[in-house]
Every structure is written in C-alpha cells, then in structure tokens.
Point group: C2
Chain length 238, copies 2
DNA sequence: TCCTAGTTACGTACAGCGTACGTAGTGCGC
DNA sequence: GCGCACTACGTACGCTGTACGTAACTAGGA
C-alpha cells in the first residue's frame, strides 16, 4: 500500500467519476473547453490552474479533483481539439484521404495556434487521438502494407504536419508581433542573415540566399513535403 | 526614438560586447556552458535565471546584461550543443553523409535530452546552426537539385530527427521514471490500451495491436523513416 | 435506516519563477 | 579629464504549480 504513486500515470486510465460522494460539478469536457477558450483568446501562457478555475467559476484547488497535474490539463486540451477532426467515409484513394487528413490537422492547429507546442514531444492515447488513428488506418485500407508500416506512415506524416505547421505559426506570429512592420522585421532579419553570409563563411548558404527571390510560399513547401512523404510509402512510385 | 522596442528581436544580431564601460566578466560561451551543465544534470526545469547566475557566480540580474530574455538563454544553449557537430569533408555519397549527420544530431540530443523540447518549435539562425546548414549543403553538392529543394530536404530531415528522437527520449524517461518498473509500466499502458481496443470501437487499431509482438525497435523505426525521407529526394529512386 | 468512508470543494500557504526598476561603480572615447 | 555608456546587483512585484487541512456531502453496507 505504501510507496506507490497514488495518481495513475495517464489521465485516461482514471475514470471520469466515481460513485461515492457529491456529484462533480463539471465534466472533463467542460474543463477542456474552458482551457481551450482561454488558450485561444490569451495564448497558452494564459492557461493557469487559477485562470481555468476562475473561468469555470470554482476555486483553484477544486480543479485538482478533476486534473491531478497541469500536464493532464494539457492532455484534455489536445483531446478536445482532436474532436474537430471530421471523420468521413474513406474514398478509396488513400493518398487523397491522407492528404485531406493532414490538411485538416493543419487547419485545426491554425485555429488553435498553441496546439503544436503541446503536440510536439509526446505521443497521445486520448480517446480522440485513438479515433483519429483508427480513421487513418481506415483510409489506408487500400494500401497493401503491414499494419506496423501503416502506423509508421501515420506517425511520420503527423510529425511532419506538426513541425511544419508550428513553423508557419511561428513565422506568422513573428510577423504580427511588436511595433515592427513586416517589412522592417524582414529587413532586420535579412540584414542579419546577409551580414553573416557576407563574411564568406557560408558560401553555399550564400548561393541559396541569392537564388531565392520574393517571399516563401509556406503552404507550397508544406504540400510538397507531404507529397514526398506519401511518395516514400507508395508502392507505385518506387 | 520612442515606441521602439529597445531589444533586438534575435540575440545573434546584438554584438557580444561593446567598447564602453567595464569589461564583461563572462562570455556568451561561458553562460551557455553553465546553462547546458545545469540542464544536463538537473533537467531543463532546473535552468532558471537565478540558478544559472549562481552557477556562474554572479548576481541574478547581472545575467540580464548578457541575455535580455530567458528565451535567448535557450538560444545560446541550442547553439552551444550545435558545436558538437563534427564537420568533416563530404565523402561524395550524399545519402551516407546525410544519414551520418542525422545520426549525429540524434546522438547529440541523446546526450542532452532537453534539446528536442527547445528545438521543436522554431527555426534557429545561431552561428552553429548556420555552420551545420552550410555543411549539409556541402554534403548535398553531388545532388542535382536547386538550392531551395536542398534546403527543404535539410529542414524535413531535421524535423524528422527531432520528432523521432524526442519520442525516443520520452519513452526512455517514462520507462525510467517513478516507482514502477518497466514491466509494470508497460503492463499498465497495455492494459489501458487493451481496454480501449477491447471496446470494439477501434477494429483496425486492434488488428495492428495484435500483429505487433515484443518491444518496438525504436532505432529501426528511426532509420527506416530517414531512408524514406532520403528516398523521396533521390532522383535515382523515382 | 443510519453510519461511515470516500468524495468534492476550497482557503491558506510556500517555494520558486521571470523580470522591472533603481543605484552604485567602472573605464573608453571625445 | 570629463561624461556617458556600460556592468553589477539588491530589492520587490506579481505570478506560478501545488501540498495540506478542513468542512460539506452522499452512496453503499450493516
């Protein structure tokens, strides 16, 4: 009985409510929704236990009855936005379906720009994550590969989506931030990069720098990356 | 003069020291090394401005002369471990070289397990990052593609390395953590996943679950992912 | 039916965080 | 040699996650 952590490792393993005692005033969904609302409006740093409790209208420490650690609150948030995935019947064209899934994930992250920060770094087993994974496997049914490989495809694709979308969001926020205008900001960056490149220490970087003209088409970069990853698993392309 | 942020957006654009006044007692390298030492020993959460200042042997607020924001301290740390990349003459085999680079990055992250948390989420322009990027472009010289595409290759590869290594580290730390043994921990997870799968809501997931036997070979998964990404850019494989 | 054990609710308190601000001392450039 | 830009750093503020203790409540077993 002693020396054991009282709290289960993962929140999804603990039941949402137990029989005894007063009825809980809130559901996990309530709490997740409140946290997501705050994060959307004020950024992830606005999400504190106190702030969420206030949003719900209860005392700070009451929240700990539902969410043993803040980390678990983050898990609830990820699960909550996972519900925004629209699961529809696979078309039979696995590439098209997976591309659609990826673009949808990107859309969700653009709606909740704090999401990549929470997503990158760990693998989720929340109900909606499992649901989404199941759906992906469904879409991949026409593809003749072992399940293990399909899972690897989904993982790789999700990783790329998260990484790239995180970069898009970071770029957008950098652009929108502070007193600088986009032109000035870019000018500062270019000036710095240019000054580095001009030292002659990075000849190939300099060449790449010269070659590029105009702003980068981030969505294009994203789509190309997706296509490449899909190519890598496509038997017809090998 | 008014209404402008006094601090440059990126720390690399501000010179390390200016002529006037007393000589700074520490270099950026000193500070970065101290922070890295703490993070290696006590984890990233151990890295606070106070703690780093103490490690250096100066007052907390003195640190702010060198590092305007904590975020910049993180940048210094990333740059510092970037120095561990061993830049060697390209062999002429771009695939082998890039594979080596990727494995080396993975090694660095395994030595500094806090690194993925800092790396995922933004694009660095630190001196050592530029040096590494230049080196990658050097390795890719034999590959007949425009620079823009090569840069995309490097970015995609780096993203995959970070994502996968982060997952490896998270898995390892989960295993090593708390009073549970690895067997118990896995048992708990499997039991939870199994219980979900047993609901019948995830038939394909269940099939994937059944198909797999024994522990996952994470390094194998990683290497296969790398090969696939490289394939996707290899003209001879298309 | 009542009792009690397991819950919920939540106020207080603590240690720690990033950092704004003010002051004192130092040494280069004019 | 003067002044100013810089370094150094103590104090203080508002914030964080959360341990702990107490009071109210209710479902299950006797």
């Amino acid at each position: 009985m002693a020396g054991r952590a009282a709290v289960p490792e993962v929140i999804w393993a603990r039941p949402e409510r137990t029989g005894r005692g007063p009825k809980p005033a809130y559901t996990r969904a309530d709490i997740a929704a409140a946290a997501v609302r705050i994060a959307d409006a004020e950024g992830l740093d606005g999400v504190s236990m106190r702030r969420v409790a206030a949003e719900l209208g209860c005392g700070t420490m009451s929240l700990y009855n539902y969410v043993p650690r803040k980390e678990d609150l983050y898990e609830l948030m990820i699960d909550a936005i996972g519900a925004e995935h629209e699961i529809r019947e696979p078309s039979g064209d696995w590439r098209a379906d997976m591309l659609r899934n990826a673009m949808e994930t990107r859309g969700i992250m653009h709606r909740h720009t704090w999401a990549p920060r929470l997503m990158s770094g760990f693998y989720g087993f929340s109900p909606n994550s499992l649901r989404y994974l199941e759906h992906c496997l469904d879409c991949l049914e026409p593809l003749d590969l072992p399940f293990a490989t399909k899972t690897e495809l989904v993982a790789l694709l999700n990783g790329v989506v998260t990484t790239y979308t995180a970069n898009e969001i970071a770029t957008a926020e950098r652009t929108r931030s502070l007193p600088w205008s986009e032109e000035e900001e870019n000018a500062v960056r270019i000036a710095y990069l240019g000054s580095q490149v001009a030292t002659g220490a990075y000849p190939r970087l300099a060449a790449a720098f010269m070659e590029q003209s105009g702003p980068i088409d981030l969505e294009g970069v994203f789509r190309r990356a997706l296509e490449r990853v899909l190519d890598a698993f496509d038997p017809e392309k090998r």
